[in-house]
Amino acid sequence: MEVLKEKVEEEEEAEREEAAVRAERGEKVVRPMEVRREEAPMTQEMLRDLERKLSDTEMAIPEKLSTFTKDTIAISKLPLSYQSNTLKEEHLLQVADSFSRQYSHLCPDRVPLFLHPLNECEVPKFVSTTIRPTLMPYPELYNWDSCAQFVSDFLSMVPLPDPLKPYQEGNCFDFSTLLCSMLLGAGYDAYCVNGYGSQDMCQMDLTRDVCPLTVKHQEVVQEEEKVPPKKYAIKPPRDLTSRFQQEQETKKQEEIKAEEERRLREEEERLLDVEKAKTDPLHGLRVHSWVLVLSGKREVPESFFIDPFTAHSYSTQDDHFLGIESLWNHKNYWVNMQDCWNCCKDLVFDLGDPVRWEYLLLGTEKSHLSLTEEEEDGLNDDDDVENLGKEDEDKSFDMPPSWVEQIEISPEAFETRCPNGKKVIQYKRAKLEKWAPYLNSNGLVCRLTTYEDLECTKTLEIKEWFQNREDMLELKHIDKSTGLNVDYFKPGHPQALRVHSYKSMQPETDRIMEFYDRARVDGLVKREETSKTMTEYYRGRSDFLFYRHVSFGDRVKKLSLNSAESNPRPIVKITERFARNPEQPADEDVAERVFLISEERIQLRYHCRDDHITASKREFLRRSEADNKGNKIVMTPDMCISFEVEPMEHTKKLLYQYEAMMKLKNEEKLSRHQAWESELEVLEILKLREEEEEEHRLTISIYDTKRNEKSKEYREAMGSPQADPPPPPPPPPPPPRRVMHEEHLRQVEAPLDYLAPFLAQLPPSEKMTRWQAMRVKDECLSDIKQRLIDKANLIQARFEKETQELQKKQQWYQENQVTLTVEDEDLYLSYCSQAMFRIRILEQRLNRHKELAPLKYLALEEKLYKDPRLVEFMKVFV
């Protein structure tokens, strides 16, 4: 500890805590201290309030977060550690006070330190003890980005009317304290920072930021590795073009490019000017708190800042961070002694360097001094005193444990995330809305609206994310400018739909459907439709088909009574392409076949041989079935025109061609049928989509006992009374499938019905006659009798067998006694004793069975008499 001579009022420090301190720097002299002091407790309360809420899952956090009055906080309910200080904490506070006094003496022109704000119980608490490192039980919160996102969603930020008094709300400290606790718990080297931020940052004003969701990932073009030319690589043909001309050309193009660039730059500058807001008069004075993550732990390669409001990470060079006063974690507190004239860009985050970072407590592990000490003006005298102090003070004083209760976030709160389960963020030309799952009945969890202009009046596109939809819809993308809708699905749609982009749900219009081809029998990947064509792409088919294109003609108007459905559009042309089938020679493997249905022609193109550049072709015409005289023409040589790369004898034969043509005719029929079926499927999918859109049912996991009514009932029935039922949100009706499943489970659990097999034998009429009842009873009894007898017999048989064997062995022993070795004799003796043991046990069992059997029989009989199904018949009888 450094001991400085001058004393500074504690109140000042308290004020600093309030977080506003920086902003006040300019006015510090002017303002009376009392005013500031009054404002102080509020922030602390806020802080406490939040922590308390977090720790108390029973309280609905979202509702209360926005109200910050003292009344809402039941102070008496808080644990003792909130209301008083321990001895150690008192000691720490004294230390902090003395530190602060020295500091303000040495640096009178700097703002007092933010060391121990009052909490909601009006008790001063040192900032470091407010941090409670906690590892959350949710795996999602293990990494800093998701953690930060969660904190920014979980707490709501109230906009501040007066930028000079941010401490009235001041919850950027709450944000960073909570985030810091979680990050430390997850193993990061994280610190709360007290410093100055830009206006946008302090007010959580994202309207000038580009929404991260709208930023498209730039495709990284991978440079193809240039293979060094091999030894025998052929030389390229000689280049015969004029070099001069090329040069002229490139020159010209460069000029054009430069022109273009200049224009673009000008445009950009203009835009920037428009967008640039008026300069902030309080620039550099706005107090903000954020989180610093230092490199080293958890494989963080480089130190960075996290703004807890937005959950964005920034480099330590970022323009938004204008300066740092101090920073702390759960172990120590450091004051920045570096100059922040150039924002945070020149800061060195080497906390072991006492010249740059003045620490409050000794003995933490942050003692690495990586840089050689540099003499800095104005700080030299500090060092001496510091060193003196170090020697005097107790070096082993360490931070008392956190007074805050363990941060707990209930699963519901975790799932709800945002206060009220809803959050709206305004970005530059974009608006992002978030909802908790199951809050909206259609499963909507997120919506991003992008606007054309800065005022957000003209909608450009809307993106909606969904969760837990039964139809597996994941994302809906509506482009307002083109009117194009794109739906994205997760795996599991009944028609294996993956992406559906359309302008209207009317059939026979432009649309693209993509499918999960592995889930489909036909391996369909994509189907593109326009008003006149349909193109299908396949993958992984055993017939090697990968492309089918169908063109339709105009629908023939029919005067018939039939409805429109039975009047399919006539097919003009079907083109099918096949991948190479390695089992067939290339000359017989069709690559493309075109059915020109209206012209009655079939064109085939075969695959190209590996060492050829031309491929065989064949064209079949079937112009006339009969010649002029009415004779039926089977096949004439001019009906098949073929070009063969390597002419073969057998293909010239008419018979071969005739057979090929017959086969193709059949295949044409099949293809037409396929096209027709595809059309039907489109209609079906469209119908299904419409139904799904209307119903928008949500799925609920059977493990989710809070939402799944049936599952809950079942669980309670199973007898787990200790599970207190929290108020369930409105549960949608579970699908019948699940009911059946649970019914089945219950049946399995039911006790064994001893009458069931006999009852099952009866005819399934409604009522049992008395005679039947008697028979059932008798059968049941005789059955158990039989079983008992069987069991007795079994035991008896084993008993006898064992006895016989023993006798045999004894006999053998008697005969060979003389010749036996010692070992054999031992073996025999041990066998005998074992056999005797077995025989005795069997005997005992048999006896017990004899005793128990009549009792068992009687017990069953009695049970049967009392059986509710038989009782009425029995009564009469008895």
Binding site: A233, I234, D611, I613, L654
Partner: protein, 523 residues
């Protein structure tokens, strides 16, 4: 029922009979009409049925090259013959004949289904070539020995076997034995073998099977070893240094050397010989290793060359394909345009234009090809030079190593001569203590004899070394020249094929245009 046919005059399998059968069994209806019009070639027939024809001798089937299925059941055939050319046969039915021995099936490697039901066969034999056999029907024959079953173990794909009606089927152990020794069999005598039966059989014949398996494994291992050795030798031969990885050459030098062997009995010679051998073998090993290394280098060189050439050809081919695809599009369009054109002047213009296009395509493709030829020629020449250099270097180095061998031999010769003469002197003086065998002593009569003997041995050794060297050099050189020739020839063939292909394609396209023109003019 064979007696019935015995009384009838046997028929000869001649052209007419086959033609009739083919005609009857050929395509029907419209296709049949076409077939009759054109006639069916025997080699196009895939399936032929010749049952109940009273055939005595299989004949005239050599034309049916592509036959897959042949039925010759219910005839009076006595000998399996004339089926050698039907290598594609999958299905052969020879049931209800008078065959006595299985034979003449050695070329039918694709056969999967063979039926010899109701014949007079007594021994399962001569089926070794039928590696794909799945169904074998041998019922109603005269097979009497159980050991015939073991022969069937070699057919890994055999699933169905019928042997009922044979003497062995009468034996009580029949089923068990077959199940045990043919564990992959699924159907026996048209009944499925159940798993229980299999288990029982296995237990029952476990010892026999284990023994058999052991023997089979041993012989298999032996075969594998032999093959591995052969392969290794092949590899060494490819490097031209076979048998140099040991004392083979040295041993061969002394194998025919009578005098040398005799002289080995002299005192001190055996040590000399041992030292000589050690040194010699070391040089041999050097040659051997050097040869393998050089072989590796040559291989790498050749692979690189082939790869590069393939790449070049592929790229050229892709270019050609692209050109043709582009042309084809234009071609279709302009053909349609010409077809639709009615005015004669326009028509002519268009036709001319299109002809020009075709010529252009031809020129373009030819240019590509010529370019490739030039490029490849250069590459091939470079390769030729390099490989020649490599080979020359190899030979040179081997020769120098061989020269070392010769030096060793000379050195050894001198030493041996010295010892021999010393010994001779000793013998002449009668100072020799040791006893020499009689035939060795016979050499030491006078100086000439002994010098001659030593000289003969020496010459023989040198001859052996020279021979080995010559062999290596000749083979290496011939390999090199063959390789280069083959590369040149391949390239020429490739070029011819491509040029032919281009011509053919362009002709075809031109023809299409001409036909169109003709029809237009006629119209």
């Amino acid at each position: 029922m064979n007696w019935l046919y015995d009384s009838v005059e046997p028929r000869v399998m001649d052209e007419d009979l086959l033609k009739l059968a083919v005609g009857e069994q050929g395509p029907r209806d419209e296709a049949g009409q076409l077939a009759r019009q054109e006639g069916i070639l025997f080699k196009d027939v895939l399936s032929l049925r010749l049952d109940f024809q009273n055939i005595l001798r299989i004949d005239s089937l050599w034309q049916f090259e592509n036959l897959r299925k042949l039925q010759l059941d219910n005839n009076i055939i006595e000998k399996i013959e004339g089926l050698e050319r039907l290598v594609h046969l999958v299905w052969l039915d020879l049931s209800f004949n008078n065959i006595e021995a299985i034979e003449g099936l050695d070329t039918l490697v694709n056969l999967e289904d063979l039926s010899l039901f109701n014949n007079r066969i007594s021994k399962i034999d001569s089926l070794d070539a039928l590696v794909k056999l799945q169904v074998l029907s041998l019922g109603n024959n005269e097979i009497s020995h159980m050991m015939n079953i073991i022969y069937l173990r070699r057919f890994k794909d055999l699933r169905t076997l019928s042997l009922s009606g044979n003497p062995i089927a009468e034996e009580e152990d029949y089923k068990m034995f077959i199940c045990a020794y043919l564990p992959d069999l699924v159907y026996l005598d048209f009944r499925r073998i159940d798993d229980h039966m299999k288990e029982l059989a296995e237990i029952k014949h476990q010892y026999g099977i284990d023994e058999l398996k052991q023997r089979e494994n041993l012989s298999q291992a032996q075969l594998d070893d032999e093959r591995a050795q052969r392969e290794e030798l092949e590899e060494h031969k490819a490097a031209f240094v076979e048998r140099l990885n040991g004392s083979f050459l040295f041993d061969s030098m002394y194998a025919e050397d009578v005098e040398g062997n005799k002289l080995a009995h002299l005192p001190g010679v055996s040590e000399l010989l041992q030292a000589y051998k050690d040194k010699f073998v070391i040089i041999c090993l050097n040659i051997f290793e050097y040869g393998l290394k050089q072989q590796e280098m040559r291989k790498v060189e050749l692979d690189t060359f082939n790869e590069c050439v393939q790449e070049a050809i592929q790229e050229n081919r892709e270019q050609g394909k692209r050109r043709i695809a582009k042309f084809e599009e234009a071609h279709l369009l302009s053909l349609n345009a010409i077809r639709d054109e009615s005015e004669v002047t326009n028509l002519e213009m268009k036709v001319a234009e299109h002809s020009k296009d075709i010529t252009e395509l031809f020129d373009m493709l030819m240019t590509l090809e010529m370019q490739l030829v030039e490029q490849l020629e250069e590459t091939i020449n470079t390769f030729e030079r390099n490989i020649m250099d490599l080979v020359a270097l190899f030979i040179e180095n081997v020769q120098s190593l061989m020269a070392q061998c010769r030096d060793l031999e000379n050195h050894h010769h001198e030493k041996l001569l010295e010892i021999s003469i010393n010994t001779l002197e000793k013998i002449l003086k009668g100072e020799l203590d040791e006893d020499l065998p009689y035939d060795v002593r016979a050499l030491f009569v006078d100086k000439d004899t002994i010098v001659n003997a030593v000289g003969t041995s020496h010459d023989l050794h040198l001859l052996k070394i020279d021979n080995r060297e010559d062999e290596l050099v000749t083979r290496t050189n011939s390999w090199c020249s063959h390789l280069v020739d083959a590369i040149h020839k391949d390239e020429i063939m490739r070029n011819r094929r491509r040029v032919k292909e281009i011509h053919q394609y362009v002709d075809h396209v031109q023809n299409e245009l001409d036909n169109l023109e003709c029809s237009e003019i006629i119209d």
